[in-house]
């Protein structure tokens, strides 16, 4: 075609752009307020529900105690490894408590506390880390996916499950937890994209605790905040003070409500801090100074709530003591549970690889059985 054949030329020739051009959604409402949402210590705290707050407090104290007990168990050789959530209890507990019975929790390897706060027996929650089996509970019974070690790989699972529930017309929301480091993985990206395209009822909770083992956030991302990633998927991003349990719970509640109502997924970044080393096997002094840790101590999630509640007269000495007693009880039960030798059957190694054992596995099972019998005889 030559220019002569064309109708009109010059500045006025431009046709209206084809439809694919238009941005489909307005980005503005998806962008996080760069100031993290807070409730405790702000006028918003006036609206706190005293009963819920007392519950939060009791769970925080219990969570803190659980962390201490689990770490003690590693020192006693009763637990192979423990990634502590000291400092992150507000996120763990809000995540557990925001869900309805029928909802699903997708914890990362660090989030045993969330599972415990959801009602899972602590010994079962720690089975993986004790080393007797890979998962200590029936995920379907508790609607808690197995603690997930390969980072971010649980996120597409949460999306798929939420999507499946929605296809079946069930009222189910999935809450998936991941760390700041985990956001760098391809699976994070793919999961969020699927969730948004499918408008799946799923909430992504990123606990930005400042570190991926030794790697600080600044080496992990150059984004303004992790919550800003949301807009790239077309879902809202929210930033919250992860040590303020009331704030985390509010933001999560809103996201869960949206998801439940068919409004699609939300990405939430909870800014918090890993107060202890990556795990008991890690030496945090190799990569961070005390000053930073000290600064965060003044922003402790348990204390933040305790101060608010006592100042408001919602919590008194007796209430505090009650929470501590309950926590001690849990700790004692946990100690007892973990001190009991787990009953292990080596033949389990072959029992669940397939629905039906292959011939090769039968043969290998027979070999091991013979060895074990010979050992017993000897």
């Amino acid at each position: 075609m030559t220019v002569q054949e064309l109708p009109g030329a010059g500045a006025s020739h431009r046709p209206t752009p084809p439809p694919a051009w238009r941005p489909r959604t307005d980005a503005a409402p998806l962008l996080p307020d760069p100031e993290p949402h807070r409730v405790l210590g702000t006028p918003g705290a006036d609206r706190l529900d005293p009963a819920l707050m007392r519950r939060f407090y009791a769970e925080l104290v219990r969570g803190r105690r659980y962390n201490a007990q689990a770490t003690a168990l590693t020192r006693q050789g009763r637990l192979a490894v423990y990634p502590s959530t000291v400092g992150q209890e507000a996120c763990e507990i809000a995540a557990a408590l925001v869900l309805e019975e029928q909802d699903w929790l997708f914890p990362s390897y660090r989030d045993t506390l969330a599972a415990v706060a959801r009602g899972l027996d602590p010994v079962q929650a720690l089975t993986l880390l004790r080393g007797d089996w890979h998962t200590g509970y029936d995920p379907r019974e508790h609607r808690i996916a197995p603690l997930c070690t390969p980072l971010a790989t649980q996120l597409p699972h949460a999306v798929g499950l939420a999507h499946a529930a929605r296809l079946r017309g069930d009222d189910v929301v999935a809450l998936a937890m991941v760390g700041d480091g985990g956001t760098s993985e391809g699976d994070f990206h793919e999961a969020l994209n699927f969730a948004a395209v499918w408008q799946a009822p799923v909430v992504f909770l990123v606990q930005n605790n400042g570190f991926a083992i030794s790697v600080p956030l600044a080496k992990q991302t150059a984004a303004p905040t992790l919550a800003h990633k949301a807009v790239g998927y077309g879902m809202p991003g929210r930033l919250v003070d992860g040590n303020d349990i009331a704030a985390v719970h509010e933001v999560l509640s809103e996201a869960v409500r949206r998801a439940r109502a068919g409004g699609g997924p939300t990405l939430i970044e909870a800014v918090t801090y890993r107060m202890e080393a990556h795990t008991n096997a890690d030496d945090a002094t190799r990569y961070r100074g005390d000053a930073e840790v000290e600064a965060w101590k003044a922003h402790d999630p348990v204390e933040l709530l305790e101060r608010e509640l006592t100042a408001r007269g919602i919590l008194d000495e007796a209430g505090i003591q009650e929470a501590r007693d309950a926590a001690e009880e849990m700790a004692a039960a946990l100690r007892e549970g973990m001190n009991a030798e787990p009953v292990l059957d080596p033949m389990d190694l072959f029992a669940h690889v397939y629905a039906e054992q292959t011939g090769r596995l039968r043969e290998q099972a027979a070999l091991l059985r013979a060895e074990l019998e010979a050992e017993e005889d000897a």
Partner: protein, 338 residues
């Protein structure tokens, strides 16, 4: 064998493997509302090989879904769907494009049942068009079965006939375990007399079949190499060899009994597959068959495989693929004089 004409009254007419695969999914979806097909281009387009043709139309886009372009996401989402009780059937567009999903496959799909002591099996079927011989460019012709075979928890199935395409895919979708279902893409258009109304029952997963009885030596093969082996067996008659041909049909579980029985009888064996030889499935077969047939063997078990190279460009692939001559040359090396 009855003729096509004689059979057509009963709905039996030539069908391609592609059609049988489509039908298998269609029938599974019709019978079981938890079966969901998903992947890149599987919906509106019906897949680049048209294997999912018509499914989105018949069952809706929620049952046959065009996903975003991300294989780990596809398989990961399928894991979540299966956790909720669905039976996802995932299409990987080509062999090499399944690799991005390997972490999900190895660390989750293969392990979830075991991880949860059986509480959470994952009935996922992962369809992977594989192998060469179609003039495909790089990344479109890999025979990646070695990776799957070495991953405990996966069932690995591959049909070589139209009947098996239907029967094994139905069995795979019905399986409570994850199945990597390898579709020999160069056999997609192979034909057989076959009735979608009353598909012949075929032995299920884990059973090998003797496709041709013989006495001189056993060719052990599967998928795209089955027709080549049958052709070689025909050609071998001229050389005076009566070759038995065993079609494995499933690599995991591996039907040792059928293979061992054959090799003990013939005393000689050659494993034939397109995948590279070094560390390929043929190594396991040769090692195991030798272990169990040692004193029956007149010669070591030999292998005719793809070379240990990246899959060649289209113009050179004919040199790479195991062909009749290379199989016969190898049979000739089975120490007939001793």
């Amino acid at each position: 064998m009855t003729t096509v004409a004689a059979k057509s009254a009963a709905g039996v007419k030539p069908a391609t493997m592609a059609q049988a695969l489509t039908r298998a999914m269609r029938d599974a979806m019709a019978e079981d509302p938890t079966v969901h097909v998903m992947g890149e281009d599987v919906g509106t387009l019906g897949g680049v090989f048209r294997i999912t043709d018509g499914l989105a139309k018949e069952f809706g886009e929620d049952r046959c879904t065009d996903t975003p372009l991300a294989e780990a996401g596809i398989l990961g989402a399928a894991v979540g769907m299966a956790m909720y009780g669905l039976r996802p059937v995932v299409e990987m567009q080509f062999d090499a494009f399944a690799y991005p999903a390997f972490e999900q496959l190895i660390s989750h799909v293969a392990k979830m049942r075991n991880r949860t002591r059986g509480a959470m099996p994952l009935p996922i079927t992962i369809r992977v068009p594989y192998g060469g011989g179609i003039g495909g460019v790089e990344h479109h012709c890999d025979s990646s079965e070695a990776y799957y075979v070495a991953t405990p928890g996966l069932t690995v199935v591959t049909p070589a006939t139209v009947e098996d395409a239907y029967g094994l895919l139905r069995a795979s979708i019905a399986s409570d375990d994850p199945v990597v279902f390898l579709e020999p893409k160069r056999l997609y258009w192979s034909k057989s007399d076959w009735s979608p109304q009353a598909p012949a029952a075929v032995p299920g997963i884990g059973r090998a079949l003797v496709r041709r009885a013989g006495t001189s030596a056993t060719l052990i093969t599967y998928g795209p190499s089955l027709p080549v082996c049958l052709e070689a067996a025909e050609a071998a008659r001229e050389e005076g060899w009566d070759l038995e041909v065993v079609d494995l049909r499933s690599l995991v579980p591996f039907d040792e009994e059928t293979v061992v029985e054959s090799v003990r009888r013939t005393g000689r064996a050659v494993v034939v597959h397109e995948a590279g030889g070094f560390g390929g499935p043929g190594a396991e077969i040769a090692a195991r068959v030798t272990e169990r047939c040692f004193h029956h063997l007149e010669a070591p078990v030999l292998r005719v495989t793809g070379f240990d190279i990246p899959y060649p460009p289209p113009m050179l692939e004919k040199h790479h693929l195991p062909g009749v001559d290379r199989i016969l040359d190898t049979v000739a090396r089975l120490q007939w004089e001793n």
